[in-house]
Structure formats: C-alpha cells, structure tokens
C-alpha cells in the first residue's frame, strides 16, 4: 500500500529513492529587539514547508523575493538553523546536528551561489579553492587531493585542469568562476547540491553551458540538485520537478512540465503570465491581480497568503489556510478552490 505524503512523494519501496525530505521546515527571524518576549515580532521567512528530493533529480524552487526560497536553501546546507521542523537526509534529521556530526554532514550537501564575482576568494588560486574542502575534511594524501581536484575540474568542464589550477579569479570570466565554484562544491562528491540562482548574473549566451552542466552532473554523478530561481524560463529548462513558493509557503509542487503547462494555483498562473517570452507573437494580455507588490513578511495575512492578490478569492480564503491537496500523481496544490482528484485530503492546518 503506498501512502501519499503531503509533498506528493510516496512512502514504501520508492522511499529509498528519496534523498532529502523536509517536514514542517520553518524559519522565523526576530525583528528588532523585543523587550517583552510576547511582543516579539517575527519575519516568517519560511513557514512550515514539506517537500521531497529524489536521487538523480533536479527540483526547482521558484518564487519572487520574499518567498523564502533562499532561506530554505540556506537551511538545507545548514548555513542557518531551522526554527522548527525536520530535514531528513537519507532518513536522518540534520536540522539539529552539531559538532562532528554536522561536519560529517557537510560532505554530503553543498551549495553554489548567485554572484560569480564574490563566490571565490580573490586571494586563492583556483587549485587552492577547489582543494580546500578536501583539506578541511581530512584528505591527507596530497596525491589523492590532486587526483580529486582534477576530477572535479573535469566534471565542471574546466579543461585542461592544469591550466586553471594556478589562475586567480580575476583572470577568469563569470562563467568560468561559476564552474570553479561548482568544482569546489562537487569535489567532496556530495549527494545534494543547492544552487541558488547560479546563472542569473551570467551573460545569457553562456547560461546554457552551466545549466547543461547541472543536468549532466545529475546524470553522471547521480547528484540531486535543488535549483533556486525566480526565472521560470530556466526552471522549465533544467528542473524535473518544481515547487512554487509564496511568502514562506509552498503553493504548488509537481513535475515541471505539468506545473508550468497546467498550473493549478493562481499564483503560478500569475508568474507564468508575467514572464516575458522571446517571441513577439506571444500573447501578452495584461494580467489581473489587485496589486503587483509582494506584501510584507512580518504582517502575514491570515488564511491563504495569496488571497489579497487573488482575483478568485472567496470568503474562506481569508479565514483558513488552505490544505495541500493532490490533483494528479505527484502534483499537489494548496488552494481552497482546487478539488483533490482522489478522496485523499489533508485536514486543514490551524493557522
């Protein structure tokens, strides 16, 4: 009997297919200094999200600024600690790891960042940058390190590796720097990589190279990647599954093709309509929504977060948070107005 988990994954035999699972992942940031603890205001950057990441899969995390996608990424690599919730890596909760276990965990989950010009230490050579994780994790034999650095550079398509090893970042282009960052991230042969807007600061004509590289890393290293972006166009190109985030919540999750061609949530639809398309004939009908601004993360509206901007909103939308329902295998939506395809429906979560 396979039971459907909230994020549209499956428990049971296929569960060992899942490398990372988030349950109720939450991050609240305190705002200002609350003299009285009860009056402490918080930014609910991420407010209880569930998702799964399978092996050999690229999961897209899409959303605008304020959606919480970068915060989620930083929690996954433990740059910041979750306020609540679990992050299961191969079944083990990493959200609360400390000390040596945390250090061990770091070999398995890595990250690449948006800014190619800040992502490398300007004083380190390429070789030193890529080698460092190995040194940190106790690979003592210099020959072994050399071998693995070369392997990582090869995989990042920096050829010939020997030519790059002694170079400094200022001698490299944006695309090359990003590849060095990728080499650094994969030198420990992690299971999961978080990619936070890895191409948005690169020239368009070289983005595809990096995106194709991510795909080949998935295929050849069996790497699972969480691809964070606000650009649905690149998400469509590179992600197997996509999760749409809005104000700290997941509003829609499913196979990319489905989510982007048959969006169920009004926000997904809004995003899709807003993305400019490189085709002068594409229909650019003005989109309807009462305001284009993403509201404040501090005073989050009760009920569905998207309700204030949703043209389809009903009274129930401002009263209760919508439950996540499954509309198709592996495709879930959090909206009061969407009917579940099968009878299975999660009880409404108390706000």
């Amino acid at each position: 009997m396979s039971k459907q988990t909230p994020a549209g994954g499956h428990a049971g035999p296929a569960a060992r297919d899942i490398v990372l699972e988030a349950r109720g992942l939450t991050k609240h940031f305190p705002v200002g200094s609350g003299v009285f603890k009860s009056a402490q205001r918080v930014v609910k950057a991420v407010d209880g999200i569930d998702f799964t990441l399978r092996r050999r899969e690229i999961l897209g995390l899409a959303g605008e600024s304020g959606s919480g996608k970068s915060t989620t990424g930083e929690m996954i690599v433990r740059l910041i600690e979750p306020t609540r919730g679990e992050l299961l890596l191969d079944g083990v909760n990493i959200a609360t790891l400390q000390g040596r276990e945390l250090q061990q965990f770091r070999r398995r989950v890595q990250m690449i960042f948006q800014d190619p010009f800040g992502t490398l230490n300007p004083r380190f050579t390429v070789g030193a940058t890529v080698e460092e994780p190995l040194i940190i994790h106790g690979v003592r034999d210099p020959k072994e390190r050399e071998r693995r650095v070369h392997l990582a550079m090869e995989r990042a398509e920096l050829r010939p590796a020997s030519k790059y090893l002694r170079r400094y970042p200022f001698e490299l282009s944006g695309g090359e720097r990003q590849r060095v960052a990728i080499a650094r991230a994969i030198v420990l042969e992690p299971q999961v990589m978080v990619a936070d807007e890895p191409v948005s600061m690169l020239d368009v004509s070289i983005r595809a190279g990096i995106l194709n590289l991510l795909k080949s890393l998935r295929d050849e290293m069996g790497l699972s990647i969480i691809y964070i972006s606000h650009d649905l166009s690149t998400i469509r190109y590179v992600c197997d599954r996509t999760a749409i985030m809005y104000l700290g919540k997941l509003v829609e999750v499913g196979p990319t093709e489905q989510v982007l061609s048959q969006p169920q949530h009004r926000y997904t639809q809004l995003l899709l309509d807003s993305v400019p398309v490189p085709d002068p004939d594409a229909n650019t009908a003005p989109t309807e929504a009462s305001s284009s601004e993403v509201p404040d993360q501090i005073d989050v509206p009760t009920g569905c977060r998207f309700a204030p901007r949703c043209p389809l909103r009903q009274p129930v939308c401002t009263q209760a948070e919508p439950a996540t329902v499954t509309v198709a295998p592996g495709h879930t939506v959090a909206c009061h107005l969407v009917q579940a395809q099968d009878a299975l429906q999660e009880p409404v979560a108390a706000p």
Binding site: R159, E176, R207, D231, L272, V275, S292
Partner: protein, 362 residues
C-alpha cells in the same frame, strides 16, 4: 524625418594602455512613436551608446566620429548647457537603479516638483499637482509622493523614476535596463504600464537591455549589438522570425522560453574580443561556427536583407541553413574559439562519456 537618427557613430574610451573602441560605426533611426530595443550582452557597447545619446559619457570617453541627430539637430557638437536644455524636456532618461538616481534625503514628490519648477517655471503648487498626475499615470498612489526613496519598494521606485522622467513631457525616453533588478510580476506590470504610456503620450522609446524577451514584448524594432558594432537591426518580428546574423541566431537559441517545452539550449563558447586591440576581421568570427576565410580578414558592413532589416555578415545567403544548424548545441562547438583550448571550456557530448566504461555516477 525620423525623430532620432544615429549615423556612423564611433565612441572611444581613453585608457592608460591605449584606446578602447566601445562603439564602432553604429547607425540606426527611430521614428516618432516607435520603440527600439538595443540588445546585447555585457561589453557590447549598448550602455556606451546610450550614454552617448544622452551626452552622459564619462570624462575619458569621446565621440570620435558620426552624428546623433535629434529632430535634425546633431547633438554631438552641443555644449553642456545646450544639451541641458534638451535633457528632460525632450529626451528623458530612466536609469537602471533608482537608488542611484534619487536623492535619499528628499521626498520623491519634492524631487519631481523641483524639476518641474526649475525647468518650466511653474509654481510649486502647480508642480505638485502635476506630480500627482504623473504618479497616476505610472500607477502609484498620490500619497507615495510624500515618501523618501528608501521607504518604497524597488518596483515603486522604478515607477517613480518613470514618473520623473515624464515630468516635462519629453518626446524621447531612454531607459537603461529599467526592470532588470525587479521581480518578474513587478517587471511585467511596469513594462505593461510603459507600453500603455508610450501609446497614450506618443512617446518614442529606446530601451537598452540584455534580455531579448523584454525586447520581444515591448519593442517594435531591435538593434542587436556585438563588440561595439551593429550585428543586426530590424523590426522585432523580422529579427525573431528570420535572424540573419549568427550572433543573433545564437542569442535566440540561448534564451529559454517558459511557454514551450524545453528544447536544447545552446551557449556560445568563447569571449567577446578585446576592444582595445582592433582587428580587421569580423568581431564575431572566432566564436562563429559558420566563419569562412573572408570573415577572418574583413569586417562586414551592414547590408539590407529585406526592407528595414540589415545585418552585418559576409554569409547572409546561408542564413536559412544557419538558422537551422544554430538550433543544435554541437554546431556551436565548431567555432575556432570553441575548439581552441584557451577560452571557455567546451561541452563534450554526454553520450561519448557514457560510452566509456559504463555509468560513472553512483
């Protein structure tokens, strides 16, 4: 007579080592009420071109040739004070980042009103009323006039920049990547608004951007720049449906389209050339998979391929075949730049790697 006519414009930067030819023989015309997108990647010269139009070039840059005719008058020889009379009243500018352009210690309404008072001699009250109207045009509530720049969101700031630019009812609006830093929904709104205003006010618009999707959405015509030169110029339909220049072909195939199923995206290996070392050849030759002998020897001049559509390439007759070949990733690995080891890494076919000793992954 076209509203704006640029003829054979050349702009150089003076560097410690020598000269950098940022803009080389650029010519285009803009009719009244038209929108033109100047598109290209970093270093292509579009920012320099735009600054030349507005006479906002830095101290070490000079226009070394050509003309910029606005309503028939050449702007190049104009002095600063003469240009100041044109700026804002006739030619207005929307910068990329409002934070850089707005004074943080004055309210937005004050800044707009002041411009109106100074340039049009209206009273403060009239100016403020006008500011309210402008805000209405750009879709902002009048109360926002009392805010300081840092109190507004990025989208609101950008709208207020547009309002400010429109304050003196210019005829030509030059916008520099006006929505690049904004979220996609906000960007869409602002672009829609800009298009609406453009029609209502009969504005002519020059939009400088690296994003061809924005050009496809907003502009009637497009100028594709590469290494300071015109690669291709035509209506957006002509450029998108029948591109002639290999760089344009490459660019179009490098942009993902969210509405269509993922086809193969290509990337163009190599780098733009060093503009301080001019060569006789076509600037794109090293990265061009279709380059022939002549391409490495002579720089092509723009040639009209159909009415209103020019492209600078020696092999225009092969354009159709190139368009076809340009869709495939392998094609782009044939250029000299891709094959030489010095520039960016090349892509090797995944199938080749899989054939060697099974699946190397986990």
């Amino acid at each position: 007579m076209p509203l704006l006519e640029v003829a054979d414009l050349r702009v150089q930067y003076q560097l410690p080592g020598g000269f950098l030819r940022a803009v080389e023989s650029v010519s285009f015309a803009l009719e009244k009420g038209e929108t033109m997108g100047i598109v290209g990647e970093s270093g292509c010269g579009k920012s320099t071109l735009m600054k030349a139009l507005l006479k906002l070039l830095p101290a070490n840059a000079r226009v070394t040739g050509g003309s910029i005719r606005y309503k028939g008058q050449d702007l190049v020889p104009l002095r600063d004070d003469e240009m100041r009379r044109l700026r804002w009243k006739e030619i207005a500018y929307v910068p990329q980042s409002a934070l850089n352009a707005l004074n943080p210690v004055y309210r937005i309404g004050d800044q707009i009103a002041e411009a109106i008072v100074v340039h049009q001699g209206k009273s403060r009250q009239e100016a403020w009323e006008r500011a309210k109207t402008l805000f209405q045009w750009v879709g902002l509530e009048a109360k926002r006039l009392h805010a300081y720049p840092h109190q507004l969101s990025g989208g609101m700031r950008q709208r207020s920049m547009i309002a400010m630019a429109l304050a003196l009812e210019p005829e030509l609006l030059v916008a520099d990547e006006p929505t690049t830093a904004l979220d996609v929904v906000v960007q869409d709104r602002i672009l829609q608004r800009l298009m609406m205003l453009q029609k209502q006010l009969q504005l002519s618009l020059v939009l400088v951007t690296h994003d061809i999707s924005v050009v496809a959405k907003v502009c009637d015509r497009a100028l594709v720049m590469y290494a300071g030169r015109v690669a291709e110029l035509g209506s957006t339909r002509q450029i998108f449906k029948a591109p002639f220049h290999p760089y344009t072909i490459g660019l179009l195939n490098a942009f993902p389209n969210v509405k269509t199923e993922a086809r193969e995206l290509i990337s163009i290996p190599g780098y733009p050339p060093d503009l301080s070392k001019p060569v006789q050849a076509c600037a794109f030759a090293l990265r061009c998979p279709f380059a022939a002998e002549v391409c490495h020897q002579v720089a092509p001049a723009p040639v009209e391929v159909e009415p209103g559509h020019v492209a600078a390439c020696h092999r225009l007759d092969q354009a159709e075949a190139f368009r076809d070949a340009g869709r495939r990733r392998r094609t782009w690995e044939q250029s000299l730049a891709a094959r030489s080891l010095a520039p960016m890494a090349t892509q090797s076919a995944p199938s080749a790697r899989k054939a060697v000793g099974g699946d190397p992954g986990e």
